[in-house]
């Protein structure tokens, strides 16, 4: 397969082989790094989580179904899980990388500064922490962990409409604070 700029993510993942996966990585690495940098709030952890996210994606790519949810959403699903694992365990796991025999890529100081700069809106994460508990839990579950409203509602023991309202109010507060801070 000849790889061109116009190849879709689905094509890169399913028929592009190693080169296709590398091209898929180049397309999305910055977004994944930014996501992890924003929510892990540690550039080095973000680098490790990004490496683990792509390693897990490489392992799982044979199970990716073209024509289903977009490939970037599939990739973010993996990233969300890796971030959640990190939060639960307190460290970034490296199981997928080890299974693939990948060496840890140690970010340089310059890399770390760049990753921190990617986070950009890192203050947003600080504002999330300042939200009232009920809004913080709902916003985090919806925006960070990308969970369904029904699931959030069940966990918080409220109605689905109530969960939507909490997320919506939380996001409105965040928008206001970000506006004030700039």
């Amino acid at each position: 397969m000849v790889l061109t700029q116009s190849c879709s993510d689905d094509e890169l993942l399913t028929t592009g082989g190693a080169e296709g996966f590398a091209a898929f990585y180049r397309r999305h690495v910055e977004a994944i790094l930014r996501y992890h940098a924003r929510w892990a709030r540690d550039a080095e952890v973000a680098a490790d989580l990004t490496a683990e996210t792509f390693a897990a994606a490489l392992e799982a790519k044979d199970r990716f179904t073209p024509g289903g949810p977009p490939a970037h959403a599939w990739l973010f699903g993996i990233a969300v899980k890796k971030l959640a694992d990190y939060r639960r365990r307190g460290y970034a796991e490296d199981r997928a990388r080890r299974r693939l025999g990948m060496e840890r890529v140690e970010p340089t100081d310059a890399d770390l500064r760049w990753i921190e700069s990617l986070a950009g809106d890192v203050e947003v994460a600080a504002f999330v922490d300042e939200l009232p508990d009920e809004q913080r839990l709902a916003v985090t579950a919806r925006v960070v962990d990308e969970r369904e409203y029904e699931e959030i509602a069940a966990e918080l023991q409220i109605s689905t409409a109530g969960a939507r309202k909490r997320v919506s109010r939380g996001l409105a507060v965040l928008r206001g604070r970000v506006r004030e801070s700039r």
Binding site: A22, V29, F54, T108, D109, A110
Partner: protein, 333 residues
């Protein structure tokens, strides 16, 4: 600057290629082979395998193109060439960078990336035959052939044939300006790194320029033409015992913090093997001196820091000089 992205891609690409190879072996070839093998009597099988081996060898010998000689890379082409927002980096055979990118230890290689961040989005082998430069990317193995010439110091590439339009756009639209013009042409002065010195207190040896003097009266070993008159360039070496468990990366952070706490930001970061040990060199511009480079590495539980202070700018002009001194480090004595 964002070497991480490039190095991670190299790791992922290598893992993906490995999986691809093992997947092909596992998923297709072997099961079919097993089915066939089961149905063939042993004697017939041995005959068939022998015949296949002979035929295979003959086909391979007949079909393999003669391996082209390694064309190397003219010194005038070495280094970084930029036409913002793109940059082309050309590395001679044997460069660590080519090894790290999985291109091979003995091949010349190139990277094509963003000039602002230094992130490479394409890399691969290169060869030069006269005025023809061939770039064969690892991502897209289609070779691109260009005619090169140096015009008023800039590298001008003309496309001869290259089906990869993105690469053509990056390379031929404007002349590529050299970022480290002097680096490629730099040669070591006569007698550079030729005069042995052994530091008893820090436990290392190195080779100095023949006319340089040595000052070991202070907390660091200092070397320069006249170290007492603050002549430049000057090299100083310091070492200290480190707590158990200190990693080379941690030592680098400790050592470089003296410059960064003074408000100096690295202009460039390089990696070098010093006495068999990985070393990182941080390069600063206008950090007390116009050209300050700090190399840090560990040996036997000790952290070593070597500082180059020079006046020449850009700092890249002094890379070969400092590197030659660093590479002369020895701990065997």
């Amino acid at each position: 600057m964002t070497d991480f992205v490039t190095r991670l891609e190299a790791e992922l690409h290598s893992a993906a290629a490995q999986r691809e190879r093992s997947g092909r072996m596992r998923g297709v070839a072997l099961p079919r082979l097993r089915v066939v093998l089961r149905d063939i009597p042993a004697a017939a099988l041995a005959t068939v395998l022998f015949a296949l081996a002979v035929a295979g060898a003959a086909i391979i010998l007949a079909a393999s193109p003669e391996r082209p000689a390694d064309m190397g890379l003219p010194a005038t082409l070495h280094g970084v060439w930029q036409a913002a927002p793109k940059e082309l980096r050309l590395y001679p055979p044997g460069s660590d960078r080519c090894v790290n990118l999985g291109v091979g230890s003995s091949a010349a290689c190139y990277t094509l990336g963003k000039s602002a961040s230094g992130v490479a989005f394409e890399w691969g082998r290169l060869s030069v035959d006269g005025d023809e430069l061939t770039l064969t990317g690892k991502q897209d193995s289609t070779p691109g052939v260009y005619r090169w010439r140096i015009e008023r110091g800039a590298l001008r590439l003309t496309k001869l044939r290259d089906p990869v339009s993105a690469r053509v756009r990056a390379l031929v639209t404007t002349p590529l300006q050299p970022v480290h013009p002097a680096r490629a042409r730099a040669t070591l002065p006569s007698g550079w790194a030729s005069h042995p010195f052994t530091s008893q207190r820090f436990g290392y040896s190195l080779q100095l320029p023949s006319r340089w003097s040595i000052d070991t009266s202070g907390p660091t070993d200092r070397f320069a033409l006249h170290p007492w008159n603050s002549t430049r360039p000057e090299v100083s070496v310091v070492a200290q015992d480190l707590p158990a468990g200190t990693t080379p990366a941690r030592w680098t952070v400790i050592f470089d913090s003296r410059f960064e706490s003074a408000g100096c930001a690295p202009h460039d970061l390089r990696r070098l093997i010093v006495a068999g040990t990985r070393s990182r060199v941080s390069v600063y511009r206008d950090c007390g001196d116009p050209n300050l480079q700090s190399a840090s590495f560990m040996h036997d539980g000790r952290g070593y820091g070597v500082i180059w202070r020079g006046r020449r700018t850009p700092p890249e002009r002094d890379y070969p000089l400092f590197d030659a001194l660093l590479k002369s480090f020895d701990f065997s004595g």
